[in-house]
């Protein structure tokens, strides 16, 4: 059977919610960052699938996913720089240990 739009949408939605679940439950900063990457990749899948199956005449979705990949790299670079700085001051990259600011 040829995979259709529904299969890909199912996959991308599942990936999105796995990412959200991971972001909310994991306590390690690097893992949380990886969960965000999962979310962004599910969006990429969505764009490409919609572009191929529903709107094949224009390339909007394809270009959008290219831009998302670039931005995700920039975001990860800044986030990792901040995490390294956090590690220097807290000696840990567990969010539970960063708890000076509350309420």
């Amino acid at each position: 059977m040829e995979p259709g739009l529904y299969h890909i949408l199912f996959l991308s939605t599942a990936l999105f919610f796995i990412g959200v679940y991971g972001f909310l439950t994991r306590r390690n900063l690097i893992t949380m960052l990886m969960s965000i990457e999962l979310i962004l990749n599910s969006v990429n899948l969505n764009f490409i699938a919609f572009n191929k199956y529903l709107w094949p005449n224009q390339m909007d979705g394809l270009f959008f996913s290219l831009f998302i990949i670039a931005i995700a790299a920039a975001e990860a670079a800044v986030a990792i720089a901040i995490i390294i700085n956090l590690y220097r001051s807290h000696n840990s990259i567990d969010v539970e240990n960063a708890e000076d600011l509350k309420y």
Binding site: F16, G19, F23, L29, M32, L33, I36, I39, L40, S42, V43, N46, F47, F50, L54, W55, Q58, D60, G61, F63, F64, F67, I68, I71, A74, E75, V78, A79, A81, I82, I83, N85, L86, R88, S89, H90, V95, A98, D100, L101, K102, Y103
Partner: protein, 465 residues
């Protein structure tokens, strides 16, 4: 070609300043004092340039759109950045990496300018990221402070998560409508369930950036952790730009779904005002206090936004102009005191009037304006917001908003009481004000007093929207 330069003038000026700072950084470098004066002069030029060569038009195949109203919004943001560079000059002079700080801040400002004039979801997303990623780096600017890095971590993670949600919403909307252009989307909307789902994701992301209540948890932590200059930037410039684009998105792009977002805004407004006010009451740190007060102010902005007509646009833009002056005045006072004495708690402000009457009057004026007490401009801002809300809303909603204004009086007056009336054995000593800080505070005070009294400002905004 000529059109390109006139339509994108604000963006081009900012880009030129960024490159100039880069060259200064790469080259010999300058002393912090002279560099800061140079940057202040450049930002003033940037603000003045905003008033000339205004034209309406599109560029890059509808990707970029500008009009007189958008230019006015950009001017408000430029003015805010100029005031921040004046008010926080004590802190700025001491930082090690002054050129980098302004490069990051102006990149974020450039992102906000592009975001306000975006006409396509792609350019909107790109500029939104340009407006948030540098701010997270700025939040970490006190490199040796634990709290600063913790605040920056919370900011980058929550903003990355919210942009993930935004993208999922955009992808659903693209799937249904087959277009990304703001002009073409409204024709394709018919209110099907999937469209509402995509729209809800989109609004959730906006709510994250605007710190509307169920999504506000990062706000207070980031505000407390970051340096005061960054907190002021986040609470005024960032909030203002997101509010401007949110209003465009709701009124232009999702106009056919007005029934859906009207109820959404009413509920958001009520819980944002109530929770923001209740949490502001119990804060001890002045930055956290201002964070929750700014959350409550966002609730009031939503009241005006819910009207769905031109009155709403006018009221929101007018309010944000006033909010820029009053919030920056409050942050300016907090910044001077925190930089020279290291004290950030409201209890430390007791007896401030004995030693620093000038600062105390500015603080009182700013807080009265935030609370919305008549002679100050804040009253007129709130009045127009609530009038705009009343054109559409049920009266229960308006009464709840008015009651929240009364609750907010309690905590604003608490700070004023601490500063003016409470006795203190060891009050904060006499604080030396530099010329730049004094100038910034006087501009803010003049703005707070005069914007409300000159009715042509409101009429002017009304004629633009």
């Amino acid at each position: 070609m000529n059109e390109f330069f006139t339509l994108m003038k604000s963006e081009l000026v900012i880009t030129a300043i960024i490159f100039l700072l880069l060259f200064i950084k790469i080259g010999k470098g300058m002393k912090n004092d002279s560099l800061l004066s140079l940057v202040q002069a450049l930002l003033l030029i940037n603000f003045i340039v905003g008033f000339f060569f205004n034209k309406e038009g599109n560029l890059f195949g509808d990707m970029f759109y500008t009009s007189s109203l958008i230019v006015f919004q950009k001017n408000i943001l430029s003015l805010g950045v100029y005031l921040i560079s004046l008010l926080c000059s004590d802190w700025l002079k001491k930082t090690e990496h002054l050129p980098e700080f302004f490069i990051l801040m102006l990149s974020a400002l450039l992102g906000m300018f592009l975001m306000i004039s975006s006409g396509n979801l792609l350019i909107f997303y790109l500029s939104l990221e340009l407006a948030t990623i540098p701010v997270a780096a700025m939040a970490n600017f006190d490199l040796h402070k634990k709290r600063s890095s913790e605040g920056a971590m919370k900011m980058i993670l929550s903003s990355a998560f919210s942009s993930g949600i935004l993208l999922f919403g955009i992808s659903l909307i693209y799937g249904i409508t087959g277009t990304l252009s703001f002009a073409a989307i409204p024709g394709q909307l018919d209110g099907s369930t999937l469209q509402i789902l995509g729209f809800v994701f989109l609004v959730a992301a906006f709510a994250f950036k605007l710190s509307i209540v169920p999504f506000h948890l990062w706000t207070a932590d980031v505000y407390e952790g970051s340096p005061v200059a960054v907190t002021a930037f986040l609470s005024v410039i960032s909030k203002g730009s997101i509010a401007f684009i949110f209003i465009t998105a709701l009124y232009k792009v999702f106009a056919p779904m007005q029934d859906v977002w009207y109820m959404m805004l009413v509920i958001f407004a009520i819980i944002t005002m109530v929770i923001g006010n209740l949490f502001a009451i119990r804060q001890q740190n002045i930055k956290r206090f201002l964070a929750f007060s700014s959350i409550a102010q966002v609730g009031f902005i939503l009241v005006g936004m819910s009207s769905g007509s031109n009155i709403g646009i006018t009221a929101v833009v007018y309010f944000i102009l006033i909010y820029t002056f009053s919030n920056l005045a409050a942050f300016g006072v907090a910044a001077v005191i925190a930089e020279q004495t290291g004290k950030e708690n409201i209890d430390d402000y007791k007896g401030l009037y004995k030693t620093n009457p000038f600062l105390c009057w500015i603080l009182a004026l700013a807080l009265f304006s935030l609370a919305g007490i008549p002679p100050t401009a804040g009253f007129f801002g709130k009045l127009f917001l609530i009038t705009a809300g009343a054109t559409k809303a049920s009266f229960t909603f308006i009464i709840i908003a008015a009651l929240n204004m009364i609750i907010s009086l309690y905590y604003y007056l608490r700070v004023i009481r601490a500063a003016f009336m409470d006795k203190n054995e060891s009050p904060i000593g006499k604080i030396k004000l530099g010329i730049a800080v004094k100038l910034g505070l006087i501009i803010c005070a003049a703005g707070i007093l005069l914007v409300g009294l000159f009715s042509w400002i409101y009429d002017y905004i009304n004629s633009l929207s």
